[in-house]
Amino acid sequence: MTTPTDTPIRISDEQPGDPTGIHAGAISRRGLLKTSGGIVVGFSLAAAFRRAGLLAQEPTVPPAGTPAATPSIEPGLVGTPAAQTQQDVQTRDVSGDTIDSWLSIDADGKVTIYCGKVELGTGLWTALTQIVVEELDVPVNMATLIAGDTLLTPDQGTTAGSKSIQVAGPVIQQAAAEARMILLARASERLGAPVDDLQVNDGVVTTLFDASKQISYGELATDTFGTAITGDAPLKPVDSYRVVGQSIPRIDIVEKLTGGPAYIHDLTVDGMVHARVIRPFVRTLNGIAATVESMDDSALQGMPGIIQVVVNGSFVGVVAEREEQAVRAAEALRITWSQIEQLPDINQVHALMREMPAEEVETVRTGDVEGAFATQASQVVEASYLAPFQAHASMGPSCSVADVRPDGATIWSASQGVYALPGTIGPIIGLAPEQIRVIYKEGAGCYGHNGADDVCADAAVLSKAVGRPVRLLWSRQGEFAWEPKGPAMVMDVRGGLDADGNIIGWDYTVYTPTHSTRPGRQPGNMLVGQQIDPPVEPAELGQVGGDRNGPNNYSFPNQRLTVHWIETPPLRPSALRSLGAVANGTANESFMDELATLAEADPVEFRLRHLADPRAIEVIRRAATRFGWEARPSGPEYSGVISAADGTVTGRGIGFARYESEFAYAAVAVEVTVNPADGTVRVNRVAVGHDCGLIINPDGLQNQIDGCVIQGIGRALKEEITFDASSVTSLDWSTYSIMRFADIPVIDIELVDRPDQPPLGAGEPAIVPVVAAVGNAIYDATGVRLRQYPFTPQRVLAAMQAM
C-alpha cells in the first residue's frame, strides 16, 4: 500500500543493517509481539485474556542477545542525519485532521498508531492502544504505537495533568472509528454485501450470511484513508467492548525488564560523545544567576579523551570521548562562581510568602461568606497550612542526546512537551524551529516538569560547540539542585459552623507561585538560555495550577477562594504531580476534619452530609467500608485507644478529592501508628475508593493508584527540599528521603467502574487526599493537629510537646 508512512524514514524491522546509524532501539515493540524466533512469556493476565479469545498470539520476548543486533524501528529512534531526515518526512501528514495522520494499516493488517502523547511510565501507550484496537476490532498485538516525534506524530501538546486518556483518547478513538467505517465500505464493495451485513473479528471482515466471504484489513488497506476526520463515524457501544476494560499487559514492560534499550539513557548514536555540565548549586528566583568569575582547567591537562571544555557565558560543560572521562573532567574543573543574592531562611519562607509581591485574584464567590460568618455561624474558626518545596526525584537524572549540525538538529528527549522544544531551543542554537526534530524517548519516570527539558537544551549547546552528537546525563546532585521544584505554598482557611454543626461558610486563601515554567517556546525558561552570552530573560511567571483543588466539592452555601499569585518565589517553581492540588487538597481536607472535630462528628459522616454528588459519596463510602471504618469523632478521647505495650498509638483518617474539582474521584482511608517517644509515623494500611469513569485497564489503573498512595505518603511524611543561604542542600538520597520498602503499607483499592461515563485520567487524583488523610489519622492517634507537612519526626515531636 502507499501511505505517507512508507517514506524512507520508516525503517522496518525486517530491513538488514542499520541505516540510521542508531543502535539503541534494539527490541522493537513489533518485534516483541512476533511469534517467530521468540520464546513464550507466561503472562498470567494475557493467559486469561487469550482464553477469552481476545489476544490472538502469545506475547513473546526476543531471544537472548538480540538487543545489540536487531535494527530498530523503535518509535523515536528512526533518525538519519537531521537535515536529510526532515526532507524525507516532509510528506507525512501530522495535521491531526485526517485519519492518516493518526493511523496506518499495512498489507499484513498491522496497525500503526501515531500519537502525540508520550509514555511517562504510567501505561498510557497500552491504554491508548487498547482504545484503538477496540474500535478497529484488531488484536492488541497487531498494533504498534509511534509517539512524540515532532515530524511524525500530530502535536497533542504537553503530556500532563492526567489528561491523556480523557483528552487524547477520544481523538484517536474517533480516528479509529472512521478508519473502520472506510474499511467496511471498501469491504462492502469487494464482498458485494451491504455494510450492515458485515462484521469484523481480529481484523478480518466477514459477512453474516455467507461464511465463505471474507477479506482482511490488510487486503482492504490498499490505499491511504485520504479523508478528514468528520466525526460522523459511530463509536462502538461500550457494552460490546472486548479489549477496553481488560487488564492487558503493558506493551513496554518486557523490553524494560529484559535489558532492552528502553530509556533515553540507553540511546547510542554513531559518533556520539559524552558530556557533563557544571553549574553552581547557588541559585535565585527563577533560575541560576551566578556567573563564572574564574575557571582553572589545568587539572584537565593530559587527561585522556577530553574533546572540549565548552564555555558560553556562564554555561560550562565538558565533552569527552567516554562517559567516565567527562565525569572526571567535570570533577577536576575548578570554577569560582560569583556571589548571588541570598536565598531566604528556609524557616521563614512561608511567612515571607505572605509578604511577597503577588497578584490577588478571587476565583470563587458563592453566596456571602462574611455575611454568613456574621449572622449564621455559631462558631468561626481558622487555620493555616504549610506545604514544602518538593522534588520530582526521578530515579535516573535527566538525559538527552543532541545532534546539532549547521543546517538542522535532531534532539532525543524525555520531555513531556517535545513539540514546544524546537521553538524553545532553536533561538539558543541559532536554528529555526522547523530545522529541529525532537524525538521522544522515555526517561526514568517523570512526575512533572523535571530536568528533562533543560538537559536537551544543554546537550544541544554542547553538540553545536563540538560538532558531534552529544549524550548528556545530569548528575544526581545536579538533578536535585537544578530541576524545577514543586513550590512551597501557604493556605489559610476559615470556616463557620451553624448551631447544628453544619458548615455554612468556607473562606479559602492560597499563596502560591505558578506551577508551570515549562519551556513554552521561551528560551529564557531553559537554564542554559539564562546562562549563555547574551543571556535570555525567563518568561514572566504565569498563573498556573497553584489553585488546583482549591475549590472543594462540598455543597457549602457560602464560599470564597482567593489566590495570591506570588511573583518572586525563592526557588524555580514548576509542575510536580498534580501541581497545587496536593497542598490544596491537604488544606481543604485537614480543615474539614478540624470542623468535624469541632462539630463532634464522625469525619466520614461529616463529609457525606455536606456532599450532594453521588459519585463523591460513593468513593468515600467504598473507602470507608473497605477500611472497616469505625464511625465516631476523631481523637484519642473518642477512639478509646490507649498506648500499645511499646508506647505507640494508632489512629485512622480519611481524605477525599475530586481531581481539579471536576474530574476523577478518590477517597483514601489510612491507619497510622505514631511513636510518641521519637515522633515517627508509620502508615500501616490504606483503603482507596476510586472512580475515573470507564476503566480502560484495571491492572494499569491499580498500578497508578498504588503509585499515588505511596508517593503521597512520602510527600506527607518525608519529602522536603532544603536550602541554605545560597544553595539547595538536599542533593542526594540521604538528604531527600523517599519511601523505602519498610515504609510501605498494605494498600486495598476498590475501583468503581462506570462504563456509562467517559474515562478520566488516573495518574494524579488519588495522590491529592493522601497527605490530609495521614495528618487526620495522626490527629486521631495523638490529638495533635499538624498543619505543616512533611510530618517529620521533629515536627510530630514538637507538636506533641506543645500540646
Binding site: 543502535h23 572526571r328 517523570c446 503509585g707 523505602r740
Partner: protein, 164 residues
C-alpha cells in the same frame, strides 16, 4: 584518582571474558553500559544510594556505579542480561513480568538483581527479609507492593523446583 590509561582490563561478565580498554578506577557501570552494550544496569546516583546499578559479583549484589572495574578482575559479574538462558527467561524476570511489577521501570533491573541474590541465599524470604534486602533499592513510582509480590512469586517458583 588514578586516570592513567593502562592497557586492556580483562573482566568476566555473564560467563564471557572481555578485554576492555579502561583506566582501573573506571566504574564498572560505564564499562557494562558503554563498552559491552549491557544497558540493564542503570545510572541512578553514582553514590551507591539507590540500587539502580545493581549487578552481582560472584553472586553478591554490588553497586556498579562505585565499583572500580579493576576490583572485578578475577571475579564473575552477572547482569540482568546474564540471568536468562538463550530460550528461557529467568524465574525472577518471569515473576516481575507476570506481576507487571513496573511503572517507569527504571529501577526494576536493579531490583531483579537484588531479588536473585536474596532468593539464592534465602529461598523462602519473609516480608521483613525482603524489606531488609531491598532497603538500598529505591523506587520513585511506588511499585513496591508489586515488587514484593514478584519476589515472593519468584521465590515460590524457586521452591517448586525452578532454579534461581
Amino acid at each position: 584518582m588514578d586516570s592513567t590509561p593502562v592497557g586492556p582490563v580483562t573482566i568476566s561478565v555473564n560467563g564471557e571474558s572481555h578485554q576492555v580498554e579502561a583506566t582501573p578506577d573506571t566504574p564498572l557501570l560505564y564499562i557494562l553500559r558503554n563498552e559491552l552494550g549491557l544497558h540493564a544496569a542503570k545510572f541512578g546516583c553514582g553514590l551507591a544510594q539507590c540500587g539502580s546499578c545493581t549487578v552481582l559479583q560472584d553472586g553478591q549484589p554490588i553497586r556498579s556505579c562505585v565499583t572500580p572495574v579493576e576490583r572485578t578482575v578475577g571475579s564473575e559479574i552477572t547482569t540482568l542480561e546474564g540471568l536468562r538462558t538463550e530460550d528461557k527467561l529467568h524465574p525472577v524476570q518471569q515473576a516481575f513480568i507476570e506481576e507487571q511489577a513496573a511503572q517507569c521501570g527504571y529501577c526494576i533491573p536493579g531490583m531483579m538483581m537484588t531479588a536473585t541474590a536474596l532468593i539464592r541465599s534465602n529461598p523462602e524470604p519473609t516480608i521483613d527479609d525482603i524489606n531488609t534486602a531491598f532497603d538500598g533499592n529505591l523506587c520513585r513510582c511506588g511499585t513496591h507492593v508489586r515488587i514484593v509480590r514478584a519476589v515472593q512469586r519468584a521465590a515460590g517458583a524457586a521452591a517448586s523446583g525452578t532454579s534461581v
